[in-house]
Symmetry: D2
Subunit: 221 residues, 4 copies
Amino acid sequence: MSHTPDPERVCAAAALTSYWYKGASETYDALTEEEIGNILDKVMGYGHVSVIEHAKFTFSIEDVSRACTHQLVRHRVASYTQQSQRYVKVEELEPVIPPTVKSDPDALRLYNDAVENIKAVYSKLVDLGIPNEDARFILPNATRTNIVVTMNARELRHFFKFRCCERAQWEIREVANRMLDICKSVAPKIFKRAGPTCVCEGRCPEGDLSCGRIKVSSNGS
Amino acid sequence: MSHTPDPERVCAAAALTSYWYKGASETYDALTEEEIGNILDKVMGYGHVSVIEHAKFTFSIEDVSRACTHQLVRHRVASYTQQSQRYVKVEELEPVIPPTVKSDPDALRLYNDAVENIKAVYSKLVDLGIPNEDARFILPNATRTNIVVTMNARELRHFFKFRCCERAQWEIREVANRMLDICKSVAPKIFKRAGPTCVCEGRCPEGDLSCGRIKVSSNGS
Amino acid sequence: MSHTPDPERVCAAAALTSYWYKGASETYDALTEEEIGNILDKVMGYGHVSVIEHAKFTFSIEDVSRACTHQLVRHRVASYTQQSQRYVKVEELEPVIPPTVKSDPDALRLYNDAVENIKAVYSKLVDLGIPNEDARFILPNATRTNIVVTMNARELRHFFKFRCCERAQWEIREVANRMLDICKSVAPKIFKRAGPTCVCEGRCPEGDLSCGRIKVSSNGS
Amino acid sequence: MSHTPDPERVCAAAALTSYWYKGASETYDALTEEEIGNILDKVMGYGHVSVIEHAKFTFSIEDVSRACTHQLVRHRVASYTQQSQRYVKVEELEPVIPPTVKSDPDALRLYNDAVENIKAVYSKLVDLGIPNEDARFILPNATRTNIVVTMNARELRHFFKFRCCERAQWEIREVANRMLDICKSVAPKIFKRAGPTCVCEGRCPEGDLSCGRIKVSSNGS
């Protein structure tokens, strides 16, 4: 939806400030793309990742379940604005359907019937004078919602470690993978190694729950 | 559940550090209760509220709805550990019932029937082999959950401003009021003026949506 | 140095997400300037200031004292990259001079002589083989430094409350006022009421230390 | 100075909340020390380190240089209260002396003379009517200060990674090592693997700047 203009230039100019007596206002315009790449490689190689906090990305994440946004908002170094259920209309209650349900005709029928029933109950509760904010107690986790999220590149890389992992829940993994694609296209130097822990650190922290993509090694052993 | 031992002494000793050459290790034991009260009154009166961040409180909030915890976890300056729905058992699906529903027999019957239906569908989905984490998409916002929260006194006072307000949703207001009672009993000096904005600042920011407890005045006028 | 492109549009589209079933990707392009103004006025009037967190601003603050950056970095909801003193060269040790010193010839002479002496000692320590990072222990608070700061609009408004105040230290007040000017020119709707507490809230929290610009009222009385 | 009482019990009870339908208030008292150890090993082994955020530690760090506290306060997930230089008295200006200076008689003499000179200039500036807050511009980085810090166990472990490292500046490394000793004695299960990156992760991120304690491996290779 939006991001810091020329995010890699901003971060590289900030990084130079650490090491050089010149201010970032002077170096910002002077840096070549190649210099930007070299600076970012160097400082990020040393683990000085705080410089990439200056690059901010805003996403509009739409039509995901409340289950997904409940997980998403647990990442605290970010700003969120979410659709309120105080104002939701019943016509808009098309639910998110998990792939495991979609691919099983019996489960899908059960699921859809249950959702239709819930929608009917929700409407009747509102008709009986129950306020929206209380009637929504009956709405399922599957209810669609929209959320606007702003995160910096450092927190995004951290988010991708956990949420692009095969062990993450399918829906937030889908969201994370699409966010990663966007980040890679906008700031390829910053995100070139981003992804699940196995991609960005070459190790798997999941122990005996690992997906097996790489040989497991636990911390420090 | 737990809190910084003698939280007001810690905060007062920290406050003294600002103004005096002696370290807090020396003043910590020496302060009388009266001195602690005077120091806290003085620094908090000047709006230097960062000193009360040193007082931490941990709460175990149990049997609240997922709707409530979704609001709760939006307060980012805090630490949370929440019951995962990956491991929930259907027998434990006794839902939270809003008071407006409880007091209306027709609404209550509708609500309870809907919950029973959802529980049955959830069980059948699991029996069909749908993983728990996908079957739970059908579970309602009303599902009970437990969460452990640690916040500092400054953030708690900010939390109480919004969540003890009459305009807040009833469930989180109940939680906030019980947390406030606990805080007042443990740290009466820090929380003596805590509460909704009308109590702690003597003004109401809610404009034409105000509950009317105090005469409304908008910001800056 | 850099900021979220069209920051007010981003924040207004995010705000609409709360109240409307449409996602921000759809409303973002459709909003008129007038609608943006109305939305921001409304949500900020209700104190729902979290939406303006989506607007980020990056500043390169140059040639300020270490005393000033020590105060600045205390604002934690921000990202910083600062010039390291491990790499500073003595030739660049032109100090910041407080106006009270500048305007008093005796004080100025004392001050400049002391700085010259410190520079000489610093050089000799380095010549004796003392590492830069230890020799700098002798450098004064007045030493110039550069810092790159990224803050969101909500935190900036909070920062301006304290740091544009007459009671703030002169140097950080100068920095804050210049940052406020830039913010007002880039995002006039978001920052129209920004400034010290007396400007944005119509009250003074400084008690008997107030500058007297407005009649003092302490909290809640 | 202070810490969460029985911090490991709090964290283990919080961790259990994730996996079990019982609330933490019930499990808190029931857990044995052995169970606490097993729970913490398991969740921390999986990288679910957020549970240890519930354990908070408050330190009074005294007689360190302003250079040291400037580095310290850059760790943002913490609460700080620092001695203000607005109120410092010149008699208290005994500076911190780096070991490299202390062990070189020529350097030490230069250093001490420079400090004496600075103290004299500071006094004269104050006598001339320069406000303390401006006179302090001439004070060196070596000036002693006190600071009270509260951090949670997760942030402490992160802090120790960087600041217990041989590459860290000597003074903050000393502070970090003493904090680590205290943490290990209070919460041995939480901090048993804490320390610099080479200790807690078995790898060194410092590249060609490594101290060589372990064989260097850069990220992901």
